[in-house]
C-alpha cells in the first residue's frame, strides 16, 4: 500500500513538474553556398543543434520564467567558423488587469567562436520592460524600453551600450485586415572614450505592415520599414595594415540607413501543413563606409547596397506521430548588388530541420 502511495505521489508530482518545466530541442541542416556573404563564395554545410529549457513559477496573475538556451553551429568544412551560443534569462509576466500586462526581463548571452574567430567572441547583458494594453479584443498597444550592453571581449574599442524605446500598435478589422504600426528610437554609446566627441549614434525606425486574408486560411502581407540615422558614428580598427570597420566585423545595425519592403503569401493547407513565400527588397546606405578596391584604394565615399531576397518555407506539424514534433524545409535566395565589388554576391540557402518540445 505504501508503495502504491509513493508511486501515486511521484506521478502527481511529475505531472505538476511537467506543467511547469518546458524543454525544447532543434536540429537543422543548412546548405549554404556563400557562408560569408561576399564576392568570394565559400560554401559549406552547417549543422545547428539547440537545447532550451525553462521553468515557470505561476500564480493567478504572475508568471516568472527562468530559462536557458544553448545552440551550436557546426560548419562541416570551415570548422573554425563554428560557434557556440548560450543564453540565461529571467522573464516575468504580470497581469495587471484584464486589459493590461507588464513584461520584465533580464538575460545574459555568450557567443564563443573557434580558432581565429575567437576575436569575434562577445557577451551581452540585456534588460527590458514593456507594457501591453488592450483597448479591445482586436486593438493592442505595446510600449517599452530595452537596454543592451554588448561587450566584445577582444575588441573593447567596439564595446557599447544600446538604449531602445519602442511603441507598437496592432489592430484587426472585420474585413479580415490587420494593421501593425511601430516606431522605435535607439541610441548607441561606445564604452571606451577615445577623445572623440562623436561616440554616440541615434537611429529612428518606422514600420508599417498590412495583412489581408484573401481566402480561408490564406493570407497576404505587405510591409515597409524606414531606417534613418539621426546621428551616426562608427569605429574602425587597423590590423596587419588593413582597416576593419565595426560593421564588417560585427554586423553593426547602426552602420546603415535606408528602407526595406516586402510581400508575403501564407497558406495553411490543413491544421498541420503550411507554406509561406516571401519577396523582400532592401536598400541600405552605408554613409560612413568608404568603398575600397581590392588593393585598398578608396574609389567611392560611401557604400550603397540594393538587395533582393526570395524565400519559401514549408512547415509540417508531426505531433500526431510524436509529441510536439514539427518539420521545416526552407529555401532562400539573396542577390546583393553593391557599389563595393566585395559585396556583390548571390546566396542560396537550403535548410531542413526538426523541432521538438516536451
Amino acid at each position: 500500500m505504501k508503495t502504491i502511495i509513493i508511486i501515486f505521489a511521484l506521478f502527481i508530482s511529475s505531472t505538476v513538474l511537467h506543467a511547469q518545466f518546458e524543454v525544447s530541442s532543434e536540429f537543422y541542416r543548412y546548405s549554404d553556398d556563400n557562408i560569408y556573404n561576399s564576392a568570394f563564395k565559400v560554401s559549406d554545410n552547417i549543422y545547428n543543434t539547440a537545447l532550451n529549457g525553462a521553468y515557470n513559477f505561476s500564480s493567478n496573475k504572475n508568471t516568472l520564467q527562468v530559462y536557458n538556451q544553448n545552440s551550436m553551429n557546426y560548419y562541416q568544412e570551415n570548422i573554425g567558423t563554428s560557434s557556440f551560443f548560450r543564453k540565461y534569462g529571467l522573464a516575468d509576466n504580470l497581469r495587471l488587469s484584464d486589459e493590461s500586462q507588464l513584461n520584465l526581463g533580464i538575460n545574459y548571452s555568450i557567443k564563443n567562436n573557434r580558432e581565429v574567430f575567437t576575436l569575434l567572441d562577445f557577451t551581452q547583458i540585456s534588460t527590458y520592460g514593456n507594457m501591453r494594453y488592450s483597448f479591445s479584443e482586436t486593438d493592442v498597444l505595446t510600449g517599452g524600453y530595452i537596454y543592451n550592453y554588448n561587450n566584445f571581449n577582444n575588441f573593447s574599442l567596439f564595446s557599447n551600450s544600446v538604449h531602445k524605446t519602442f511603441l507598437r500598435f496592432n489592430s484587426s478589422f472585420e474585413t479580415e485586415t490587420s494593421l501593425m504600426l511601430s516606431c522605435d528610437l535607439s541610441a548607441k554609446l561606445y564604452s571606451a572614450e577615445l577623445g572623440n566627441p562623436a561616440s554616440q549614434a541615434y537611429q529612428l525606425n518606422l514600420y508599417a505592415q498590412v495583412g489581408q486574408s484573401i481566402a480561408e486560411n490564406t493570407g497576404l502581407s505587405l510591409y515597409f520599414q524606414l531606417k534613418s540615422n539621426l546621428s551616426q558614428v562608427t569605429r574602425s580598427f587597423v590590423y596587419d595594415n588593413t582597416l576593419f570597420y565595426q560593421d564588417e566585423l560585427f554586423n553593426d545595425v547602426f552602420s546603415n540607413e535606408g528602407y526595406e519592403t516586402g510581400i508575403s503569401f501564407t497558406k495553411l493547407f490543413s491544421s498541420t501543413l503550411g507554406l509561406k513565400a516571401e519577396l523582400v527588397y532592401t536598400k541600405r546606405d552605408y554613409s560612413m563606409l568608404p568603398v575600397l578596391d581590392f588593393d585598398g584604394n578608396i574609389i567611392a565615399a560611401s557604400r550603397i547596397d540594393n538587395q533582393f531576397g526570395f524565400g519559401v518555407e514549408i512547415q509540417k506539424d508531426l505531433s500526431s506521430y510524436f509529441q510536439s514534433l514539427s518539420a521545416h524545409i526552407n529555401w532562400n535566395y539573396l542577390h546583393n548588388n553593391s557599389n563595393d565589388t566585395f559585396y556583390k554576391y548571390d546566396n542560396q540557402l537550403f535548410s531542413a530541420g526538426l523541432d521538438y518540445a516536451f
Binding site: 551581452q124 482586436t138 494593421l179 486574408s213 484573401i214 576593419f244 501564407t266 566585395f342
Partner: protein
C-alpha cells in the same frame, strides 16, 4: 374483441404519451430560447469569439486558426546577437 379493445387502449395511451413528450420538448425549447435571449449559451459565445479576426503577426491569417504553426521561429533563431562576423575581416575568406 377484448384483445382489440386492449390494443386500442394501448395505442391511445402511446399517442397520448408521445403528444405529452412533444409538448414537454416544445416547452423546454421555448424556455432555453428565452434563457438564451438573456444569457447566451457559453458555447455559442466561445464560437462567436473564435470567429473574431485577430492577426497578431500580420500575415493575413487569423491567429485562432494558426495555433501551433509559427513561421517566425526560423527568423528568431537567426537573430542571436549583435554580430555574425561576416565581412572583409582577415580569415573570413
Amino acid at each position: 374483441m377484448k384483445i382489440i379493445f386492449i390494443l386500442t387502449i394501448m395505442l391511445f395511451l402511446a399517442q397520448s404519451v408521445k403528444a405529452q413528450d412533444s409538448t414537454t420538448v416544445s416547452v423546454k425549447k421555448e424556455k432555453i430560447s428565452a434563457q438564451n435571449e438573456n444569457n447566451r449559451d457559453p458555447l455559442i459565445d466561445k464560437k462567436m469569439k473564435d470567429d473574431v479576426f485577430i492577426d497578431k503577426d500580420g500575415d493575413g491569417i487569423c491567429d485562432f486558426r494558426t495555433k501551433g504553426m509559427s513561421f517566425e521561429k526560423l527568423k528568431r533563431r537567426n537573430r542571436q546577437g549583435p554580430g555574425d562576423g561576416k565581412g572583409k575581416g582577415k580569415g573570413n575568406h
